[in-house]
């Protein structure tokens, strides 16, 4: 019997061969992204959930089934856990056709039904007409779909995806994002997806955990983690580049506001964590909190947190451009990704002095420990 609608609860740790600590849950129907740099322990974590390697301590539950418990020396094999697993390079069996690869995942189905079931799954991942091809005769995207069909054909208790989009080209990746997003709505199992790409997590995941050097830095909804990183290490892992020093000037707890300085400028944040006046802080603002609007149109006139900046460089990268500017009189460097058409419209160019506004609701004051990070 294949269990469904079962939540995954994982509470494991180990010190050797690489340190790893993870405590999280993933509800049925939810996509959890495990994000972090290469070598951070993401794949190890996924293999532990799959039962392919064993942690030293802790437990893993899927619904009411205990998969692993170090204290009770319980550890179900990958076969017993009944999971769908898509490794980073898909793990297709090179000597078997696409159809036979999918059939390999159908051991739980009566033999006479397997072929039709496999064909149905290939159809479901838009891979009709290619069942007799060997993996080497398929494109990267097609191979990814065969691997996904094989993992799903097993009607797994959970689906584990290891860097599912890393081995395909950008165009295929974009298409596969849409397909996975659509598939997500149909699945009623926990999906754990390992990725090093923050944007994939933002695009596809309901929840994310950020992992680095085997340690969980933060977990939560992707946009929450992005806009409210726990500390500077998380902010940097999330790709936030605009992290600054400041000094608290005042706080209005009722209106949930904090005022602090950036050099001589006064900055307002729509948050009021427990701080004292005069305290040194580190604060961060994500890219979407920086506005390069037309000053001539008067849109910035009523904005808070207006800063005069001098543009130092504009690097065009296709549809987006990286604008690097220094705050006049202070010297702090602002990095912003601006749509290229807006760069042209606002005539942003090296040497140009302009005004930017920092959205007060996007400014996040990092916790005190971040000063160490």
């Amino acid at each position: 019997m294949v269990p469904h609608n079962a939540d995954l609860i994982c509470d494991i740790s180990q010190t050797l061969p690489i340190p790893l600590e993870a405590h999280f849950s993933c509800r049925a129907g939810e996509v959890l992204a495990v994000v972090g740099p290469s070598g951070g322990g993401k794949t190890t974590l996924l293999r532990m959930i799959a039962g392919l390697s064993l942690p030293q301590r802790g437990h893993i539950h899927c619904g009411d089934r205990l998969w692993f418990d170090a204290k009770q020396s319980i550890s179900l094999t990958p076969q017993q856990r009944h999971i769908g697993y898509m490794p980073q390079h898909f793990g297709l069996f090179p000597h078997l056709t696409a159809l036979d690869n999918v059939i390999s995942g159908l051991d739980h189905v009566p033999k006479e039904l397997r072929k039709q079931r496999a064909l149905d799954w290939l159809e479901r991942v838009n891979l009709h007409g290619l069942p007799d091809r060997l993996p080497a005769q398929l494109s990267g995207g097609q191979r990814q779909r065969v691997a996904l069909a094989r993992a799903l054909a097993r009607e797994p208790a959970i689906l584990l995806l290891d860097e599912p989009f890393s081995a395909v080209d950008r165009e295929t990746r974009e298409r596969l994002y849409i397909e996975l997003a659509r598939l997500k709505q149909q699945l009623s199992i926990p999906v754990v997806m390992v990725t090093h790409d923050i944007h994939e997590a933002l695009l596809l995941a309901d929840k994310m955990i950020l992992i680095s050097q085997g340690q969980m830095l933060q977990q939560g909804k992707p946009f929450e983690v992005l806009s409210h990183p726990n500390n500077e290490a998380v902010a940097r892992q999330m790709g936030l580049r605009n992290i600054f020093d400041g000094q608290v000037v005042s706080q209005d707890i009722e209106r949930n506001m904090t005022q602090f300085t950036l050099g001589d400028e006064l900055i307002v944040s729509d948050s009021a964590p427990a701080l004292t006046v005069g305290q040194s802080i580190r604060w961060v603002i994500p890219n979407q909190g920086i506005r390069f609007n037309a000053i001539s149109s008067g849109r910035l006139c009523k904005s808070l947190n207006k800063l005069e900046v001098l543009i130092e460089s504009v690097l065009v990268m296709g549809e987006s451009s990286r604008v690097i500017a220094s705050v006049v009189g202070i010297g702090s460097i602002i990095n912003a990704d601006v749509p290229t058409h807006l760069v042209h419209k606002l005539a942003l160019a090296p040497g140009v002095q302009t005004t930017i506004a920092l959205k007060s609701d996007q400014i996040h004051i990092l916790s005190a420990q971040s000063e160490l990070g």
């Binding site: 392919l52 999971i83 697993y85 390079h89 090179p94 993996p135």
Partner: protein, 226 residues
């Protein structure tokens, strides 16, 4: 041309390959995937026949399997037949001498199977036995084929160990290599030349066949392997 010696050599090669290859698959797989204490020592021990002179191996086998040894006495009591100067002793010697030629290519073949594939197979619900027969074995065929050809050819050409352990008994232990030596000693160069040519042609054909089949078998998998 000593057809009897040629037949004996082919028979010895066949026995060696049939008995050694399954053993090499088990040992090669364990060495490729398992970590255990003394692994380096075991790997070194397996390679010893490559570096030791055949006469030295032959000497130790003669002492170890002879009438005065425990094994020799035990086998003689059990079967009424002694191991030395007998075909069965040659089979044992050939197996021992050919262990590196069998284990090495098979171990390397196992090592080339990406971990992703073995992980995926386990997560597909396949048992270990099924993973071995359905996934691993078809993927290591080039290695197995290489091991078969290397062992077969090497046994055909084996001289030192065979002479030390088996002597030169026609129809029992006189292999083609020893027949060539005998012919040269007897100044029968026509016969020696013919038998040498047969061995040469066999060696070249076997290696060409192995290379070609390895390419054909390996050709369809490259794109999914790391």
């Amino acid at each position: 041309m000593d057809w009897q010696a040629l037949w004996l050599s082919v028979k010895l090669s066949c026995f060696t390959v049939v008995l050694l290859i399954p053993l090499a698959i088990i040992v090669g797989r364990a060495l490729a995937y398992r970590q255990f204490k003394g692994k380096s020592w075991l790997e070194a021990l397996i390679m010893v026949p490559l570096v030791l002179p055949p006469t030295v191996i032959g000497y130790y086998l003669l002492v170890g399997l002879g009438n005065q040894s425990m094994i020799g006495q035990w086998v003689e009591q059990l079967t009424g037949q002694q191991l030395v100067f007998h075909f069965s002793g040659l089979v044992i010697a050939s197996i021992i001498v050919n262990i590196p030629f069998a284990v090495q290519p098979i171990q390397r073949a196992f090592e080339t199977i990406p971990i992703d594939i073995r992980d995926a197979a386990a997560c597909c619900g396949m048992s270990r036995l099924r993973i071995f027969f359905r996934i691993e074995l078809p993927m290591i065929w080039p290695g197995v084929l290489t091991a078969v050809v290397l062992c077969f050819s090497h046994v055909l050409g084996e001289f030192g160990v065979v002479l030390m352990l088996g002597g030169n008994i026609a129809g029992e232990t006189k292999t083609i290599s020893i027949a060539i030596y005998d012919s040269v000693q007897a100044f029968d160069f026509d016969s020696a030349g013919m038998m040498s040519l047969v061995l040469l042609l066999f060696a070249v054909s076997a290696l060409a066949l192995t290379t070609s089949m390895s390419k054909r078998l390996g050709g369809h998998r490259g794109a999914t392997q790391r």
